[in-house]
Amino acid sequence: MNSLERFAAYARGEQLDRLPCVPIVGNTAARVLGVKVSEFRGNGKLLAKAHVAAYRRFGYDVIRIFTDLYTQAEAMGARVHYPDDETAYLAAPAIHSADQIPSLKPVDPYKDGNLPHHLEAMERVYQAVGKEVVVNGALTGPFTTASFLIGTENLVRLTLRNPAAVHELCEVALQGALAYARGILDTGCTPSITDAMCSSTVISPRQFKEFGQPYLKRLVDFIHSRGRAVTLHICGKTQPIWEAMADTGADCLSIDNAADLEQAKVRVGHRVRLMGNVPPSEIMLQGTPAQVRAAVRRCILQAHDNPKGFIVASGCSLAVETPYANIDAMLAAVREIGWPVHAEQLTKDELTCA
């Protein structure tokens, strides 16, 4: 059963070989190909080759073309630093004060920054393996892009001091996101949204409803208008905003390991599919294959019976140096449990282990 067949059968409630499994591989793809992370910059062909190689190496169910969250902000003027062989990071925002917001232009995904190269990578991967596996293009949410455009501290102060300016900034970020989403869809890929700064670790649920959700909803509506289902990931704590996240219309919520899958299932599982939440740092990067197996079993026990379905996934993108053995262990643990899931057996094993 390939990934597309597995998802289709799962949606129809038919027999499966195992639950879908997505260790969210990003720049680890560079390791699989033996190239440096910085070589991905401006090289869609290499980025595509690496992601196809990583998919073939591990056999997971979703390929996500992703290098970092800054691509759209960079295309709008933010400065990004590219270390030789690590994930890029934000060097400086595009603007420093609210009065500079009118100077920002939404992106042209075919011209600005690294976006054309990312689109090229998406197109190449979709052409190569899009008939067998889901290929997603990473899309950063408007509020998060806004934080990279004006600086996070600046933005969160403005949410209280000058809400109108925040809306103006989110609007221009949304226009950029819509243009990029259109570009992603035209490659054949599906945009998957990350809106890290909307986390309840950063802003209040009330602020999410004011500055995050409305823009996400418009983005989701657009992607739906092209007939695609959307996954929304928000990092860190999200428990206070699960309903509001579902209200964006997203079809699947990706739950960070800082939140509780079982509670998410009870609260919004009848509305959205869930994915998550094996800890990417403590378990996937620093843990052993045995710890990965235990974490996978815990996730499946908590959410296998989610009414709208469940995907075993890492709680966030994996670190570059995540050991292959742990990624393999994640898939092996899901295969071992198979389908249908026998919860009684899993519970018994848990008890034996404890």
Partner: protein
């Protein structure tokens, strides 16, 4: 206008909690004009308010935006009151060198920890973000700090934290400093593995951790006359 000192301290505390920078400034000017001891106005007023804000943050009634605006009000008052503090007795090392480790520029978490530690009376040498391991060590030595506080949000930069501790070991000065670590991907297990002295999962708990490691700081290092 507040009637007596007690009321003024209350009002200062409320101004911080209510994120009212102008009011914090006005009340601080009043405190100076009335000849109220600056240390008391800071400790019972501004710092009291910031501690309450930290509690609201811990109970998730306040989030990062509110905490930052509270700190803006606290600092507005401090700017006015600080010049009126009586001479420091310097009885305790209470300097903390902190920064975001090399390869990361996410500094909002570090800034929150800085605010809360500063409110608790520690003197902060903030190196900023994307800081090389050797700079933490050199600065801690030069400043005669008691704590080195390392922050990161990225899994990619966690090893730089271990490197700071290795450098301290190599220079045979490890025991002179308490090293604490924090940030999204960091855990107690990671702190233990690299040999850090402590881990905290948020700004208010970072204060408790530091106080457990090196004792409480007197605000501004002053003793009231």
């Amino acid at each position: 206008m507040p009637e007596n000192n007690e009321e003024l301290f209350h009002s200062l505390s409320d101004a911080v909690v209510e994120m009212d920078e102008d009011r914090a400034r006005q009340l601080s000017v009043q405190a100076v004009e009335r000849g109220i001891d600056a240390y008391a106005a800071i400790d019972y007023g501004l710092v009291h308010g910031m501690t309450r804000a930290g509690q609201l943050f811990e109970t998730e009634e306040y989030f990062i935006p509110e905490l930052l605006l509270c700190s803006d009000a606290m600092y507005a008052g401090l700017d006015i009151l600080r010049p009126h503090l009586k001479q420091s007795t310097g009885q305790r090392r209470r300097k903390i060198v902190m920064g975001v480790v090399e390869g990361d520029t996410h500094d909002i978490g570090k800034n929150l920890v800085k605010i809360m530690l500063e409110a608790s009376g520690f003197e902060i040498v903030d190196l900023g973000r994307d800081i090389a391991p050797q700079r933490f060590v050199d600065t801690a030595v030069a400043e005669n700090a008691c704590v080195i506080a390392l922050s990161t949000l990225m899994t990619t930069t966690m090893d730089a934290m271990a490197e700071v501790i290795q450098l301290l070991n190599q220079a045979k000065i490890r025991e002179r400093f308490k090293v604490i670590v924090g940030g999204g991907p960091i855990s107690q297990a990671f702190a233990d593995r690299i040999g850090a002295d402590g881990y905290a999962n948020g700004a208010p708990s970072a204060v408790k951790l530091v106080e457990a490691l090196v004792g409480q700081a007197a605000w501004g290092g002053v003793v009231t006359a």
